[in-house]
Symmetry: C2
Subunit: 318 residues, 2 copies
């Protein structure tokens, strides 16, 4: 067999698109996530909603975000495109160009795929990452009594964008920041690597919304997470859109999906070291939003006055 | 990180379904194929067409067939299911049970997936295989002047089944064999491993039809393939269905997709050794259907009288 293409980060692509399968030189452990976006469920293509380029970016970002949540180095991505008759070759190229740009930015090689006819646009991405060993990775299961709960970046952009696109809140100068952020989420790969390397205990990415995803982490770790909703870091435009919706801003930050920030837990003694590691990694900042307690597994959300709040996670509404 | 599940063939699954991504102990080379089946394009669910179990089996078989065509050992499979509102949980279970049965039969571990809402049924499978090194694999690119062209098993079952399901040919006792074979194609994994180990030169699986796939192999190898259509091995029922359609049986055998047999080339001196290796592997038999010539790359199809025939490959008609 002949080598036919360049090297990926952490693994070498030996045979890419054009044969029955792709071949990658492997070592350590292989970390794999699949993530699908379906027109009508995850995005709309009509005027005022998503462009093809946004769909390509978001599909890859969502799959890479799962690798970030494990602390894996990104390696290869494989794309399944289901293309409807009305979707032009030009649109398909725009979609894949945006995906290729994000792949380049993250050191990911698009190594294979499948294109099929479909009645609606479908983009399914398999993202493969690599690590030296399983011990180098973080799961959802390691949170411990006494840990702090941290979150990267800012929350609520996706929910604030959705409210504007659906016309539930007016588009505004402030809200434009949320729209831009939601159209091009950034998988927190360097942050995930740094947090795994520096001894965080458990991690998950926020794809379904903090209220849903933190509950998953709590369940898998067998602990209780208490989050202070008033401490949630808010993305640009969230306060303004929440005002128009007449809800507290933390409802968008904790209830909206697809922000793709990382939620993790760590020992209080490691707090400063983790913050410094994130700074060195060139990553976004961290906010400390709660604590881990022993006791019946579950999630407790407390508002600014310390009252317990019920909040459902993100439900795809399209 | 804790190990959480059993071992795959050739790789160890360290973390399976339930976290952000799956983790597999890796060595050698990783061989990856993605393959999607979409309702209305690749199958129909109404009466007289496909059952959910057939869709699950065929989706995994198609992805594993690509690994067979490389000579890779199967390792893990990842499923994306797009489920429409009218598709019941019971049907989804039937689909995945059939996939799990094929996974078990082939030593494949279903290691992860994603389930999303969709307007039609979508099954996208990522199949990952393993080999000691790239040198142990076969590509489409190695065919040489003077090679023989071989094909495993029998051809035409998928096309003969389609003709019956669409009512273009009557259902018959003879045709039932083709229907059964088309509903549960067998990826030729042991055959692919044996052919790669014993020195075949190039290989491809027949997913789009021999006329299309052999042309791909010819193009990638830069050679001319001459195939004798009268020598094609015919699946049960193909002669009878072709009779009802008033076409030569080789039109179904060379033009129909999804038979998932392997087409390969090998030196004439290796013919007997390869046949013995396939017998030892417990695999299906081989038929020798043509030769490789130097010259302008392409495919030449010759009928029983040595006349050149034009034949289009399989086009999905649903």
């Amino acid at each position: 067999m002949q080598a036919s293409a360049g090297a990926a980060a952490g693994a070498e692509l030996l045979l890419g698109i054009g044969d029955d399968a792709s071949v990658v030189g492997a070592s350590g452990v292989c970390v794999t996530s699949v993530d699908a976006m379906v027109e009508g469920t995850h995005f709309r293509l009509q005027e005022g909603f998503s462009e093809p380029s946004e769909v390509g970016h978001r599909a890859l970002a969502g799959a890479l975000s799962d690798l970030a949540a494990m602390g894996a180095r990104p390696g290869e991505a494989y794309f399944v495109l289901g293309l409807p008759g009305g979707f032009s070759e030009q649109q398909a190229l725009e979609l894949m160009r945006a995906a290729a740009a994000l792949a380049r930015d993250t050191g990911t090689v698009i190594a294979g795929g499948d294109v099929v006819a479909a009645p609606i646009l479908i983009v399914s991405v398999t993202a493969v990452g690599w690590a030296a060993g399983a011990d180098a990775l973080l799961t959802r299961a390691g949170a411990r009594d006494g840990d702090l709960v941290g979150v990267t970046g800012n929350l609520g952009a996706a929910a604030a964008a959705l409210a504007q696109m659906e016309g539930r809140a007016p588009r505004s100068a402030a809200g434009a920041g949320a729209l831009a952020r939601a159209a091009a989420p950034v998988p927190r790969l360097s942050e995930g690597l740094a947090l795994a390397a520096e001894g965080a205990h458990a991690m998950i990415d926020l794809s379904d919304g903090l209220a849903t995803d933190a509950a998953q982490l709590a369940a898998r770790s067998g602990v209780r997470l208490e989050l202070q909703l008033g401490d949630l870091p808010l993305a640009d435009g969230v306060v303004e859109v929440a005002g128009a919706l007449e809800v507290e801003p933390w409802r968008l930050a904790a209830g909206g999906g697809e922000d793709y920030e990382l939620c993790f837990t760590a020992a209080p003694a490691d707090r400063e070291r983790l913050e410094q590691a994130l700074t060195r990694a060139g990553g976004v900042g961290v906010s400390w939003i709660g604590t881990v307690r022993a006791g019946p597994p579950g999630l407790v959300l407390l508002d600014g006055e310390g009252r317990r709040v019920q909040l459902e996670g993100y439900e795809h509404r399209w």
